[in-house]
């Protein structure tokens, strides 16, 4: 079973990359544009020259050309062959590798069923929707029994809802077919949905490789902390299970209510852009709403970061410049903080 290892890999955008992807693991590479995410995939696939070593299961792949590496690759632009139908696209890899006709037919059918695209088999790519193309491309990439799959922003061109659905489906599929996969995903939320581990890449270097929770709650470097959106991390003192599937967590003077999933919560992460500020006391029940004092205002290019002291805790909120100007806030002002219940993420001891 394939374990992928990159040892001191350098390319003109990559600097000394050392990375191990365990067998059947889903690793997600995230990072800003130009960080070298796609280049890492191209190196593993053997599509570009590089220095250093790439090993699959301990065997060096450096002199093995792309077509002999057995690595499936789902490109960002999908690149379905326009002269072949959906089923011919899926069967292509099996055909060029000389599999017998019955294996080709069975495998193509199996994948079309698994991805719910059997009805599209006779259609040409130009007659497929974005989501349908995506499914055909996924099936094609893994059809020749590939045990390693590289996916370059596979859901980038889809709407948020379809992308979310496809990501969860992909995760199930990869686990079902026992595939070791490396995803490139632009946003961290998407990465958290599919990843066993996340690797943060910045300017050609790996900044941190860890589980999604560890990345969020224990960012190793400032770059990682900034990249994940500088979340407010609150230490939890007490947990009190409420009725109706909720739990109340105490952190200093703040009491935060969030969905209860049977865990003892030790830390909570709140992203600065998931915090609303209001100059007036908001109507309705005081659930996840707090009064605080503005302690610092940090104006940036198009946003303003506002630090609010709530008892012993200080939360940082992120507002658009227009919203900030409308509120007419100043240091020392009283302000009301509203935390979105659904966007809270927590760490379990």
């Amino acid at each position: 079973m394939p374990q992928i290892e990159l040892k001191n890999v350098s390319h003109y955008v990559l600097r000394d990359i050392n990375l191990t992807v365990k067998d059947k693991e889903i690793l997600v590479l995230v990072g800003p544009n130009g960080a070298g995410k796609t280049t890492v995939l191209n190196v593993i696939a053997g599509l570009v020259d590089y220095m250093g070593q790439v090993c699959f299961d301990g065997k060096t792949m450096d002199r093995i050309p792309a077509h002999k590496r057995g690595v499936g690759y789902l490109f960002q632009d999908l690149a379905l062959f326009p002269h072949l139908t959906a089923s011919q696209n899926i069967a292509y890899g099996l055909k060029v590798q000389g599999y017998p006709a019955d294996v080709i037919n069975n495998r193509t059918k199996e994948l079309m069923n698994a991805l719910h695209i059997s009805r599209l088999k006779e259609r040409y790519p130009k007659n497929l929707s974005g989501g349908e193309k995506q499914r055909v491309a996924i099936a094609r990439a893994i059809a020749p029994f590939q045990k390693i799959l590289l996916l370059d922003e596979p859901t980038a061109s889809l709407d948020a809802q379809t992308a979310k659905f496809l990501r969860s489906e992909l995760r199930v599929l990869l686990k079902q077919f026992e595939i070791t996969a490396i995803f490139v995903i632009h946003d961290l939320l998407g990465a958290e949905e599919v990843a066993d581990r996340i690797a943060i890449l910045h300017k050609g270097r790996i900044e941190q490789v860890a589980s999604p929770k560890d990345i969020l709650f224990q960012p190793k470097t400032n770059t990682v902390y900034e990249f994940i959106g500088m979340p407010n991390i609150l230490e939890c003192d007490k947990c009190h299970v409420l009725s109706s599937g909720l739990v109340e967590v105490a952190s200093g003077d703040m009491k935060i209510v969030l969905p209860y999933e049977g865990d003892i919560i030790s830390k909570i992460a709140i992203s600065p852009h998931d915090i609303y500020l209001s100059g007036k006391k908001p109507p309705g029940p005081a659930l996840n709403r707090y009064a605080g004092i503005v302690t610092e205002i940090i104006p940036l290019r198009s946003i303003v970061r506002v630090k609010v002291c709530i008892g012993q805790n200080t939360l940082m909120a992120e507002l658009s410049k227009e919203a900030f100007d409308d509120m007419n806030l100043g240091v020392g002002n009283e302000v009301f903080v509203i935390v979105k219940l659904r966007r809270l993420r927590y760490f379990v001891t």
């Binding site: 696939a45 599509l47 050309p65 792309a66 077509h67 002999k68 590496r69 057995g70 690595v71 499936g72 690759y73 490109f75 632009d77 690149a79 062959f81 326009p82 002269h83 292509y92 890899g93 060029v96 590798q97 040409y124 790519p125 130009k126 094609r140 990439a141 059809a143 020749p144």
Partner: protein, 258 residues
């Protein structure tokens, strides 16, 4: 006059020039003479010779042009730019000069070696094919390269990750995707070879029933002031050329993958 009308007026003007030239042939058209000239042994020989040599030259041109165009389209290599520029040679040098260059080459020791130990090109049918090949291969490469440039390299990367060797990727992805470009290039190459005159007459001469292609036959007729006979042969050449090109247009516009 709007810009649209002005532009259309120019295109109509060009059409009228060509149509006027073609129609003027009918001024000298005589029904019985047309049939007699068309069915004469000499005309049929010229027609057969032209069709055969143009077809062979076009096939050989495409045989060289497909891999050469692929190399120029996909790879960066030493001398690639020079080769790319040299492809324009048949367009910048007049066909007679090109024929003269071939003739001069066969007067060098290397050329004489080929003549004596290999194929005799000067004043033979092989010379016609060679002249047509040399005047068309550059254009064939240029046309096929343009078709290949349109095909994203990404398709070949995908094919490779699916287990296709570079050769298999070429035959299963690149070739099928640019087959219409290659076919169109073949037909245009064939049409150009069919009408080739300057280089052909320089290297192969104008021997009746031996190296007299249709364009050379036209030249011979007009040289002897046989206007009716010339008009008939020109009409035959136009009929074949335009018929084929129209067919290509229909074929090329038939199916799109995009």
């Amino acid at each position: 006059m709007s810009f649209k009308r002005l532009a259309i007026a120019f295109s109509v003007a060009v059409f009228l020039i060509y149509a006027g030239l073609i129609l003027s042939l009918f001024y000298f058209y005589q029904g019985p003479l047309f049939v007699n000239t068309l069915l004469s042994e000499r005309t049929l020989y010229s027609l057969r010779l032209s069709l055969t040599t143009a077809t062979v030259a076009a096939v050989v041109s495409i045989f060289f042009a497909v891999p050469a165009a692929y190399a120029l389209s996909r790879y960066k290599f030493f001398g690639g730019q020079i080769i790319d520029t040299l492809l324009e040679l048949p367009m910048i040098v007049s066909p007679v000069a090109l024929g003269a260059m071939i003739l001069i080459f066969f007067n060098t020791p290397a050329g004489q070696l080929i003549q004596n130990r290999g194929v005799d090109f000067v004043f033979t049918v092989y010379g016609i094919v060679l002249a047509q090949f040399i005047t068309t291969v550059g254009i064939a490469i240029r046309l096929i390269k343009a078709a290949m440039d349109e095909i994203p390299e990404r398709y070949e990367d995908v094919a490779k990750t699916l287990g296709a060797s570079p050769v298999k990727a070429f035959f299963t992805v690149v070739l099928p995707l640019c087959k219409r470009g290659i076919f169109a290039s073949f037909v245009l190459t064939w049409a150009k070879a069919l009408g080739e005159f300057g280089a052909t007459i320089t290297i192969a001469g104008s021997m009746a029933m031996k190296t007299e292609t249709l364009p050379i036959a036209i030249f011979m007729r007009i040289s002897s002031a046989d206007i009716q006979g010339t008009a008939v042969l020109v009409l035959i050449l136009i009929g074949i050329g335009l018929g084929i090109l129209y067919g290509v247009r229909l074929f090329a516009g038939k199916k799109s993958y995009v």
